[in-house]
């Protein structure tokens, strides 16, 4: 599969993607403003999260709002095992300094456990049960994070003590550029996962189940298992991204990491870009994250920061009503028109 992706045909198939990758690679060296590098890094993180959401929400058509739960599970597990738990009062876990590359697997395992607990009962049924359950799960998890102060630092969250030096093992760098590449590689990896799913059994099964669940089941597909599999992969990627994100930002607090807003933001990335497409979440992240930065910068004084989120809501509504297949589908439309015109022209010449 790796061979396929780096072969000549795939470059021909995705010329824009290749250009995008090249631009990202040289970006931090050409543009000296660290702010822009940081924004692009945020884009990478959200593209990865959007990719993860896309597996269950796009390919599986099971709208999940539990993204922030998995994300914060990964984040909290890693930061707790590295910097210890709780800030005030008795510390239950001392600062162990365990490398995030080890502790992340515990986070991933817990996230998968959560995914099974939500998914296994809900995928028995069709319909809206799953979405309701994910919202319930997010609320419970956030409340627990706030309540068990001694573990999680309550609503203040957890922070690292001052770290210094460049270490990949401890995932800390003095400048932004190494982390930029860590995030970039992770985004590319998640995109490869999507590419793999898109053209292999899981993707075909998910599409078949979305098209017609009865027909798919009559052909022997166990729709419950297939959906659960997709949900598990999605949750694992989110937990891993959570670890990377928290080691970048340096703190974890429940009201941003574990909030429903975070879940919705992750969802929007994929919805706007195009659900069930390979490049949708990347395109979506490239648009929504800078948009949010802009609205934070220019609309902050306007209604206490509500404007940016109102815009997000409006974007979802508009996309669902008019372009349910996202921005990628607009590009495809244009491409299709262009190609068909060329074909007609060819006929005339002949």
């Amino acid at each position: 599969m790796i061979k396929n992706i780096f072969s000549l045909t795939s470059i021909k198939k995705h010329p824009v993607a290749l250009i995008f990758i090249l631009i990202c690679l040289i970006f931090p060296f050409v543009i000296s403003r660290t702010y822009l590098t940081r924004v692009l890094m945020e884009v990478f993180f959200f593209a990865a999260l959007g990719n993860a959401w896309n597996i269950i929400g796009g390919y599986g058509k099971q709208t999940s709002w539990a993204s922030s739960t998995f994300f914060s599970i990964g984040a909290y597990t890693s930061i707790m095992l590295f910097a210890g738990s709780g800030q005030a009062g008795g510390k239950i876990i001392p600062a162990l300094g365990i490398s995030p590359w080890l502790s992340v697997w515990l986070g991933v395992a817990i996230a998968i456990l959560f995914a099974v607990v939500i998914g296994w009962p809900c995928f028995r049924f069709r319909g809206v049960f799953f979405s309701i359950a994910t919202i319930a799960c997010t609320t419970i998890w956030r409340q627990l994070l706030i309540y068990y102060e001694r573990f999680t630092g309550g609503s203040l969250g957890l922070t690292f003590k001052i770290r210094s030096g460049n270490t990949l093992w401890g995932l800390h760098f003095d400048t932004d550029i190494p982390f930029y590449f860590v995030a970039f590689i992770w985004m590319i990896f998640t995109t490869l996962v999507i590419m793999y799913i898109d053209s292999h059994k899981l993707g075909y099964y998910l599409r078949a189940i979305c098209e017609d669940q009865d027909a798919a089941e009559s052909l022997g597909m166990k729709s419950r298992n297939v959906k659960l599999q997709a949900f598990i992969i999605s949750s694992a990627i989110m937990a891993f991204t959570g670890m990377l994100y928290v080691f970048k930002t340096g703190f974890a607090d429940p009201n941003t990491l574990a909030s429903q807003d975070m879940s919705v933001r992750i969802g929007i990335v994929a919805i706007l870009g195009g659900m069930g497409t390979i490049w949708g979440p990347t395109v979506g992240a490239l648009i929504t994250i800078p948009l949010l930065e802009l609205s934070n910068a220019y609309l902050q004084g306007f209604g206490g920061g509500g404007a940016g989120w109102a815009l997000y809501g409006l974007l979802i509504v508009v996309m669902v009503l008019f372009k349910p297949n996202g921005i990628v589908s607009i590009i495809d439309d244009i491409k299709a028109r262009f190609v068909s015109k060329k074909a007609v022209g060819g006929d005339n010449v002949a």
Binding site: V128, W309, A310
Partner: protein, 291 residues
């Protein structure tokens, strides 16, 4: 203990009303409205805005008609501009759409009224007044809210069983295609049901306005409450939703007095999760296949 149970049941009455609204919408058009709590928040803020025009110390309940009318109008606008287009188009469409609406409403409220907490300036008598009944004291505002919710519940029952449009609603919720072939104008039924669902949410907002603080994000918690009550009672079952609302009120009240206010929200959601896992068709729902 008795005090806690009664408090829970009283507020549960209001939750029932919100749940009836969301159930009505789901029953007729098979759409779960994730913005129901935000409609309630709209009701709260309408009350807040209109109350400031009224003379000092008057009762907010006089606003029942104007708030109801405003909510009916808002419901019609939301329905015909957005919701109408996703009926019968699959689950993920309406889930995304109503979440989008919820964010628009929340943040428009924040833009207009600001992000900080507010309260409707009702008289002290109403806010803190209580009726002593043996060892328990009943908060006046809660009793009024419960009574009003009960009146509305009776009204809904009458409406669904004795009016033409109510019967048409029930027929549509049973089977849309057959209803249409019998000459029921489902378009009218849809818009009426949605607007009524919105009005119930808004009226609930008005009823709890003396008790609750207002903030733009207050809707989220009521959305989960409404959905919990609806699922508990069985999707599309109005009487189930009434009972579900009471149970949720009870759970919330018990949890907040025995486990702390912080965990009350979590407790409601735990109940919801348990119901989804063990009895997804509700306490009274029959085992059927959701389409």
């Amino acid at each position: 203990m008795l005090q806690v149970i009664i408090n829970g049941l009283l507020i549960g009455g209001v939750y029932s009303l919100v749940a009836v609204g969301i159930t009505m919408i789901h029953g007729v058009m098979k759409i779960v409205n994730f913005a129901q709590g935000d409609f309630l928040a709209m009701g709260l803020y309408f009350t807040y805005a209109m109350y400031s025009l009224m003379p000092q110390g008057s009762l907010p309940y006089w606003l029942l008609v104007p708030v109801g009318a405003a909510m009916y109008l808002a419901g019609c606008i939301f329905f015909s501009s957005t919701i109408k287009k996703v009926i019968g188009k699959g689950d993920s469409n309406y889930i995304l759409l109503t979440i989008g609406l919820s964010y628009i409403i929340q943040n428009l409220i924040q833009l207009i009224f600001g992000p900080d907490f507010k309260s409707v300036a009702v008289s002290e008598q109403l806010r803190n007044g209580a009726i002593a009944l043996g060892s328990v004291s009943l908060s006046t505002a809660r009793v009024i809210a419960f009574a009003a919710a009960a009146v509305f519940a009776v009204f809904v029952n009458w409406f669904l069983s004795s009016t033409d449009i109510g019967r048409a609603m029930r027929a549509t919720s049973e089977n849309r295609v057959v209803a249409e072939s019998l000459g029921i104008k489902t378009g009218t039924v849809f818009i009426t049901a949605f607007a009524m669902g919105t009005v119930f949410a808004g009226i609930s907002g008005l009823l709890i306005s003396p008790i609750f603080l207002l903030s733009p994000k207050v809707g989220a918690q009521f959305s989960t409450i409404a959905m919990s009550a609806m699922v508990l009672g069985g999707l599309g079952n109005i009487k189930g939703a009434l009972v579900g609302g009471l149970i949720i009120g009870l759970v919330e009240s018990l949890a907040s007095s025995y486990a702390g206010v912080l965990l009350a929200q979590a407790a409601i959601n735990v109940v919801l999760m348990l119901v989804l896992i063990f009895r997804p068709y509700g306490l009274f729902g029959k085992e059927g296949r959701a389409s």
